[in-house]
Amino acid sequence: MADELVLEMRGIRKEFPGTVANDDVDLDVRRGEVHALLGENGAGKSTLMNILYGLYRADAGEILLNGRRVEFASARDAIGAGIGMVHQHFMLIPVMTVAENIVLGVEPRKGFLLDERTAEKRVRELSERFSLAVDPTALVSDITVGQEQRVEILKALYRGADILILDEPTAVLTPQEAHELFEIIRSLQADGKSIIFISHKLKEVLEIADRITVLRRGKKIETVQRAGATEASLARAMVGREVLLRVEKAPAQPGDVLLSVEDLHVHDERGIEKVRGVSFDVRAGEIVGIAGVDGNGQTELIDAITGLMKSEAGAVKVAGRELREASARKMLDAGVGHIPEDRQRRGLVLEFSIAENIALHDYSKPPDSKWGWLFPARLVERAGRIIREFDVRGGGPLSAAGGLSGGNQQKVVVAREIARDPKVLIAAQPTRGLDVGAIEYLHRRIVSERDEGRAILLISLELEEIMSLSDRILVLYEGEIVGEHTPDVSEQEIGLEMLGGRERPAA
């Protein structure tokens, strides 16, 4: 492989009001290289890439493409120069076909009409050349997430991308799909394409990257060869201190059954049955993890257990007591704590202060209020205590919850739920979007709550999180529990079950 540089970014600086997102960052990428950009959330990876892709303008610094200085005023300029980006949140239009999505903006024409046949033909050619199997005529709303990602990659290739930016590409994939993606990346690499691989997952970076550049708080820390780098050395560079990557925990001491779900059936708001006869128990002092690909009934299951959604059939028992016609309020009062999967939309009222957010459950009871009269001073006093106990940083009781970082927002949610001393704690994707340091804290906290004797139900799309935290693992596939395992099961086995027990047929 030639060591020819295709891209150099020199001394990039970008300030946003209040923060320096990139501070004198250098990055160089060689032809045919997979270059990982590693860093925590907010380290400046996305900002750097958005500058490269023409979405932001750097305040200082320069970009050299094949040795020539370039300036991008818009994504269109960057695309024209051969840079493609696959965003973390896919930029696809569900109601349009795969081919339409790919050619959008650079459509083949026949006169003034859109030449659909040529579009489909070219997409088919391209997908065969890079073995990215997708059906050009399928609607995007009908294809799987893994296929959506291929469409995104095809979109970049169709525009003649030589440098491909993949922003957290494995975040939405199953282990199998991630494996397929790595195959695709290798075939692109063999074709001479350069890939910038943004991630905060150490394992996959070590698997796929040739070189790794670590960013921390907007600064470039180092660029290292894969050979010689270890998870521990990369984590240290990312966080700036030694990080405990493994969750330390003693074997579980399961006690009484505190949460019992029996033959639960739940329909989503469109009337489609999403949970189809799920039964399981969670005992005091154990963590039960539910693994599964997004959209297999996790949300509906949680919502039914926490009383946010009505179930069609089945029962939910908390500490042996069946709750009929459960509402969220009844469930809270029965001792179910809930860390919702989307802290910003369901966990917090972002405009409210931390103190108000913490009081969301108990505002209507003494000591928070009496005879319909709220005592704000008591709210603030209690919030102060909780903030100290849970080490929430970046604001006091009266600061708005929306101003906190993701990790600290999550701490507020967790603190609120745990402070009520629940018997059962339901943690839905508790570390989604958090950085290594915050994940470490939350994992330790969840284990220590288990050791306090709470029954913990963990739902996560991150298989690694499920495997490292759970004492028992259930696999949810199309609304049914298709497997139960002890945590020493292999990732491959669970991965297969997450896809319904068989390899997904190539589309």
Partner: protein, 403 residues
């Protein structure tokens, strides 16, 4: 489909198994049942309506049992309605029926529908790009006034049409700045446009014409006389002498279908209305597309307005001349599921109900008022999803903020 057992199927058998086909056939039959009692059929017993209506209801039941509940219920409802209306028609005298239902009813339906078609197609462009435009009413009203003014001052309906469309474009541009760049609430902004137009046209109508009718003899948009058709028995009065703008509206429907669904620019417009960020990341200028679409909607709505005053109205204007037609056009667009042909069909239906209402005025003013409400009732039914839910573009009404 490969998994289905391969059995020999007659076309009829296939049709019977398809709930969508039976559902729509049921509805068509239900409507037909109502028509049996009126000219040109003028069945004098309710039996025929009853028979056809029952077939419609059976189609509906077949549809319901095959899983398409809403569609089937819709077919059953039209069947029952068809029987009822067919029966009512037999109670009326043939003379009365001949006055209300004759070939010129078709011409009148087109005449009432055309302003709606223009505005609805305009609204479709705007909403397909992601901007809700309830200011259609105001843009139409401006077109109506300035169109007549242009024809009066410029001496030609061509000038009137151009002036009206230009003013519509300017008003739409003002709205676009608020809705797109300033990210104002689009409902509030659109309402403001409507009141602004009402005020401006009212003021200038008083200033320039003292609130009276525009002077006589203004050049009006001509009718197209088709010599080889106008002499025919039924077609002659129906389409032999339609206004130029009516024919233009037919072409507009076809052209807008091609533009929206068959051209690159249409793909881009729809992309901006569905997922503007996705459009942005592939280098499409979302703001430019939305400005273009909103201005086009203003031009088209205003063209509908010019037709209203200088074509249909014969060169007159009066205060608040559009009287809610912009909103009905909006309803037609929604009823038509943001598609040109759908909007056109809905506009025709609404035009038909207006034409009927006008004729019924002679017999029963209250019934006629009731017919004028029909568009809104139908729109409510459509929005509530009785006949398959209408689906708006995903980013419709959401201002786009560039990163």
């Amino acid at each position: 489909m490969s998994w289905a057992p391969q059995t020999r199927q007659t076309p009829v058998g296939k049709w019977l198994r398809n709930p969508v086909a039976t559902g729509y056939t049921g509805m068509a039959l239900g409507v037909f049942a109502a028509f049996l009692g009126i000219p040109p059929f003028t069945s004098r017993t309710a039996t025929w309506s009853l028979i056809v209506g029952i077939i419609a209801i059976m189609c509906g039941i077949a549809t319901v049992t095959r899983g398409r509940k809403r569609l089937g219920l819709g077919a059953i409802a039209t069947g029952i309605g068809g029987i009822g209306l067919g029966y009512l028609a037999t109670r009326s005298s043939v003379d009365n029926l001949n006055i209300v239902f004759n070939a010129s009813l078709i011409a009148q339906t087109f005449a009432f529908a055309t302003p709606l078609v223009f505005a609805a197609i305009g609204g479709m462009f705007s909403e397909r790009s992601g901007v809700v435009n309830i200011g259609l009413e105001g843009m139409m009203l401006m077109g109506a006034f300035w169109g007549v003014w242009g024809a009066d001052v410029g001496g030609s309906w061509v000038v009137g049409l151009l002036v009206g469309m230009a003013i519509g474009a300017v008003l739409a541009l003002v709205y676009a700045v608020f809705a797109i760049h300033l990210r104002a609430d689009q409902i509030v902004g659109g309402t403001a446009v409507n009141f602004l137009a009402l005020g401006i046209t009212g003021y200038f109508f008083f200033q320039l014409y003292h609130g009276n009718y525009v002077s006589q003899g203004v050049s009006t948009i001509p009718n197209i006389k088709l010599p080889w058709i106008s002499g025919l028995h039924f077609l002659g009065p129906a389409i032999g002498n339609l206004n130029l703008m009516i024919w233009v509206s037919f072409m507009l429907v076809i052209a807008s279908y091609i533009v929206v669904f068959k051209t690159p620019i249409g793909l881009r417009i729809r992309a901006c209305g569905e997922h503007p960020r996705a459009a942005d990341t592939v280098g499409i200028n979302v703001y430019a597309v939305r400005y273009g679409a909103v201005v086009l909607s203003g031009v088209l709505a205003a063209a509908g307005g010019v037709y209203l005053s200088d074509g249909f109205g014969g060169g007159t204007f009066n205060d608040n001349m559009t009287a809610g037609r912009g909103f009905i056009a909006l309803a037609a667009m929604i009823f038509g599921n943001w598609r040109p042909a759908g909007a056109f069909a809905a506009a025709l239906l609404f035009g038909f109900s207006s034409a009927i209402a006008l004729r019924l005025q002679v017999y029963s003013p209250s019934a006629s008022t009731l017919f004028n409400v029909l568009p809104y009732v139908l729109t409510l039914i459509a929005v509530a999803g009785v006949i398959g839910r209408t689906v708006a573009p995903a980013a419709d009404g959401k201002p786009y903020r560039k990163q």
